[in-house]
Every structure is written in structure tokens, then in C-alpha cells.
């Protein structure tokens, strides 16, 4: 083969291409059949699994979008994710700023304390958390989910912000201190405007986490009109059992916004993952 070419080896060998192709099929096929399944009749699914549907009648999609559940549950998820992102960005960036730039007794200790959250899964405390939320009157409310999700996201968000703030030129802050500028003003007028890339990363990250979350809303929410989309889709599945074309249409409509968002924002997601993971 061309492995001994003087200047440059070919980037990928045929074997690699072949396996990549197989893996690509493995990834695509479930998406592909889901997207087409919404157009097929139930009997068609078994006899014509990979082919195009006999008709492109969008009746199920129209029905779902006209129904009460679809947009309402997406809107609920959007509200919760938006609130979580706003609040967690503010809370985590303030804390990370104080820990990165203000010298005080115990700052290392506080950072270590907050990083404990990275060690164990939030699911472990879910039952006592439910009791606590009940006692505080936070059940069946969107703000209750937002507040708890912000608490869950603190560790990782502070870590990302802290890493970023540490890299900012120290002279900027020292100069502002010389001019008798307080830390609150420095944070708001100097640090935050310089931190848009990390704000985007943390924001996108927490948005996706909140958008996809299932266990917490499942435990907290009771009223159907407050359901987020993962709860809505599970309920839809429960109601329509094995009416797969209808469920697949609902699935397609539910994941399309997320896929579109992912294609636009994947740069930030990946930098969050690798920035937090490879460095931390």
C-alpha cells in the first residue's frame, strides 16, 4: 500500500474507511427509520423497513402539532432550560470569579468543597431531595426544577469558569484595582465581557443538560400541563402503546429542535467537554 510514500502517509486506510462506514450506518439507521416511520402505515413498518413510505401524507405530524401536548411541553422545557441557563451562568461565574481573583482565607477549601459535586452522581440523593423540595413547597413547579438544576450544575460550571478566569491576563484586574475599582465592578465590566466564549460553552452545556433531563422532572412534576417534553413523550408512548407510526412522528418532531440546536452549537458543547475533561 501507500504507507511508504515519502511525503505523507494517506490519512485513512481502506480498512478504517470500511469500519467508519459500518459505524456510520449503525448510527444513522435508527434515526432514518424513525424519521420515515412517521409516514408509514403500521403494517408497512415490518414489510418495508428501509424503503421510502408508500405515501408522504403528513397527517400524523399535522395532528400532533395541532394537538395540545406538543408545543406546550416544548415550551415548558424551553422555560426551564432558559431559566436554568440564566441563573446557573450568573451564580457559577460570580463564584468562580471570587475564587479565581480575590485572595481570601479558605478560597481553596471552598473550591474543593464545590468540586465534590463532580465525584458522585446527583441521582444518589434524589429521594431525600424530593422530601426537601416537598417541605419547601417546590414540588410541581418549574422554578423548583430550575433552582435544583442550578444547584446540580454548580460544580461543573464553576470548574469551567474558574479554568477560564485563571487564564485571563492578571494585569487587567491589577490595573483596575489600582484605579480603586471594586471587585463587583471589575467582574461586571471587565471579566464578563471578556468571557463570552466560556459563557456560551457553559450556557449551551447546561441548556442541553436541562433540555434532556428526565429523572428530576419525573419526580417533581404532577400536573400534565407542566410536563416537559421527555415526560410528555413517555406519556404519549404509554397512551398509544404500539401505534408506532404515531409515536415515531411524535419522536421525530420532538428531537428535531434539539438536532438543529446541536448542529448550530456543537462547537461550544465539544469545547466544554474537552476543556472540562482533558484539563480538569
Amino acid at each position: 500500500m501507500a504507507t511508504s510514500s515519502r511525503k505523507r502517509q494517506p490519512v485513512t486506510t481502506p480498512i478504517q474507511w470500511l469500519t467508519l462506514l459500518v459505524v456510520a450506518l449503525f448510527v444513522i439507521v435508527p434515526f432514518y427509520t424513525t424519521a420515515l416511520g412517521g409516514f408509514k402505515e403500521i403494517g408497512e413498518l415490518r414489510v418495508n423497513p428501509f424503503g421510502l413510505p408508500a405515501s408522504w401524507d403528513p397527517i400524523r405530524f399535522v395532528e400532533i402539532m395541532g394537538g395540545p401536548r406538543y408545543f406546550a411541553s416544548l415550551w415548558n422545557s424551553l422555560l426551564i432550560a432558559g431559566g436554568t441557563v440564566l441563573l446557573s451562568t450568573l451564580v457559577a461565574s460570580m463564584t468562580a470569579f471570587a475564587l479565581a481573583h480575590i485572595k481570601f482565607f479558605g478560597s481553596k477549601f471552598i473550591l474543593g468543597y464545590l468540586m465534590l459535586g463532580l465525584l458522585f452522581p446527583s441521582a444518589t440523593g434524589i429521594l431525600p431531595l424530593f422530601i426537601k423540595m416537598r417541605d419547601l413547597g417546590m414540588l410541581d413547579s418549574h422554578w423548583g426544577i430550575i433552582v435544583v438544576q442550578v444547584a446540580f450544575s454548580v460544580s461543573f460550571s464553576v470548574l469551567l469558569f474558574h479554568n477560564f478566569f485563571k487564564e485571563l491576563p492578571k494585569e487587567l484586574i491589577d490595573a483596575a484595582r489600582m484605579d480603586n475599582c471594586g471587585y463587583i465592578k471589575i467582574f461586571w465590566y471587565i471579566t464578563l465581557p471578556l468571557s463570552l466564549p466560556i459563557i456560551a460553552t457553559v450556557g449551551v452545556f447546561n441548556f442541553v443538560g436541562s433540555w434532556n433531563s428526565f429523572l428530576l422532572p419525573l419526580i417533581v412534576l404532577n400536573s400534565e400541563d407542566k410536563y416537559t417534553w421527555p415526560l410528555g413523550i413517555m406519556q404519549f408512548k404509554g397512551q398509544f402503546g404500539s401505534d408506532w407510526p404515531r409515536i415515531l412522528a411524535f419522536l421525530t418532531l420532538s428531537i428535531m429542535p434539539a438536532i438543529a440546536f446541536f448542529l448550530l452549537a456543537q462547537r461550544y458543547i465539544i469545547s466544554g467537554l474537552t476543556g472540562g475533561a482533558v484539563k480538569g
Binding site: V11, P30, F105, P121, A151, Y183, F187, F214, I233, V278
Partner: protein
Amino acid sequence: MASLATSIDLGATAGSRKRRFIERNSLPALLLFLPPALILFTLFVVLPMVDAATFSFFDWNGYGPITDFVGFENYADVLTHRNFGTAVRNSLIVVVVSLVVQLPLAMWCAIALAERGVHINVLRTLFFLPFMLAEVAAGLIWNFVYDGNYGLLPAIGDAIGVDMPFVLGDKFWVIPAIMLVITWKYFGFHMMIFIAGLQSIPSEVIEAARLDGVKRWQIVRHIKIPMIRSAIVISVFFAITGALQLFDLIIPLSNGGPSHSSHTIVTFLYQFGILRMKLGFGGAISVILFIACVIVALAYRRILFKVEQN
């Protein structure tokens, strides 16, 4: 954990009394910036863990005063529960399959996709897509793929003349079926971590090896993989903690069935602790899970330390 929470308070008061321990004029900023995160984190992350430990020694249904002290009875109940062993076994299977199937697959793809190129970017995005998908949606998609009447698997079976079982209703096949979904969902995540690691290797190192006539696979084996050891350690850590908290994907796929054969530790906690409001029992599961996570984290720190020393 309780001692940690109190020592935080001590630290804060001691700090404000002795002014020389803080920078001048920084008190207002500290008082504004630190409490929100500390209060939220303590109240909703740390205290629930402390409560779980407390509850685990009582028999309590969530209402009225907590008085019924039962010692270690809840732990005994959990450990002898006939489905707990299955849940632990399943979680361990997830760990093992992640390590021997998912990570090598991710590494294989990462090595091919760490280069530059348009088609490479498309494949990277495609492979990462399942990771971004909500677990619930992924679970339902695969629930359809596996559906014994209308799904993709029996359709493929028809095509090749094999009678496919209802995999999600079969005590044996349900676990391999879930493993396939886990691989599908998460290998792209590990691939991305590996790609980031591979891209941080200085290109001169690879170039020099090439000029010396080192073969492609020797470069992978003796240069690339050793140089991204820390990325691998991180990947392993995420694979293990992810396996320990697997929940969202199981519910839409098998819901722990058939006859409780596909529970993980967290679905077991949900099924037998949360749904039945048995707080003592659930607390004991939480504590066991917490201890498992701490052990993993400590082992991880040791390994990471060794890796960094080399």
C-alpha cells in the same frame, strides 16, 4: 459530609473576623458572589446526601416524625433483596462492556477522525449526535428498533429468514440489547475526548517517527495511545460513573423488566425506594451507591497521579 458543611461556616466567620486574611475592600464582593452557589449546592446536593445517610437507619414512609430507628436493617434488606444483586450485576456489566467494547470502538474512530477534512467533520458530528440526544428519545427510538411486532429487528430477521425474539421481553437478550444502545449512545462522547487528546500531540513527534520509518500501527500503539493516557483515564472514569448512574435510558427501553431482570442501581432505587416511598430502604441504596462512587473517585485519583508522574 456533615462535618464539611459545618467547617464551611466556621471558615467563613473566621475569615470575616480576621480582616487580614482577606484582601482589602473585597468583603462586599465576597458576600455577594459566594453565598448563592454555596447555599444552593449545600441545600440541594450535599444535604440530601446527609439526609439519605440519616434516613437509612430509620423506617420511614416520608410522612410524620422520623422515630422508628432500625439500625442496619435497611442495609440488610437491600443487600438481601433478590433484585439488588441483579441490579449490581447489570451495572457491572455496563462498566465492563463500556471498557472492552465502547472505548476501543471510540479509540478506533478517533484515530481515523483526528485528522482534518470536510468528510471527517461530517462523520465526527454524526458520531457525536446520539450523545446529544435525550436518553428518553434514544430509548424510545431503540424500543421501536427492537419491537417484536413492528420493529426493525424482526424486519431484518424476516429478510434473512431468522425468527427474531422479542429482545426487550427476553430475560437473556434484554441485557445485550441495552448494551448495544449504550454503545450507540455514548461511544461518540469518548471519541471526542480521544480526538481532543490526539490533536494535542505535537505533530513533530508523529512526523519524526514517520521519517524514521515507523509503521502506522506502531505509531498508534507506541506513540499516540501512550501520549493520550490522561484522556483515556478520564474516559474510563466517565464510563464508570455513567454506568453507576444509568437510569434515563433504561426506563423507556425495558423499564427494568422483564421481571426485574434489567434493573440498574438507580432504576432499582427508583422502583423500590422512590415509587414505594420507602425512604430508609432508598437511603441505604443511596449510601451504598455513594460509597461505590467515592471508591471509584479515590482509585481514579491514584491512577491519575501515577499517570501524571510517568
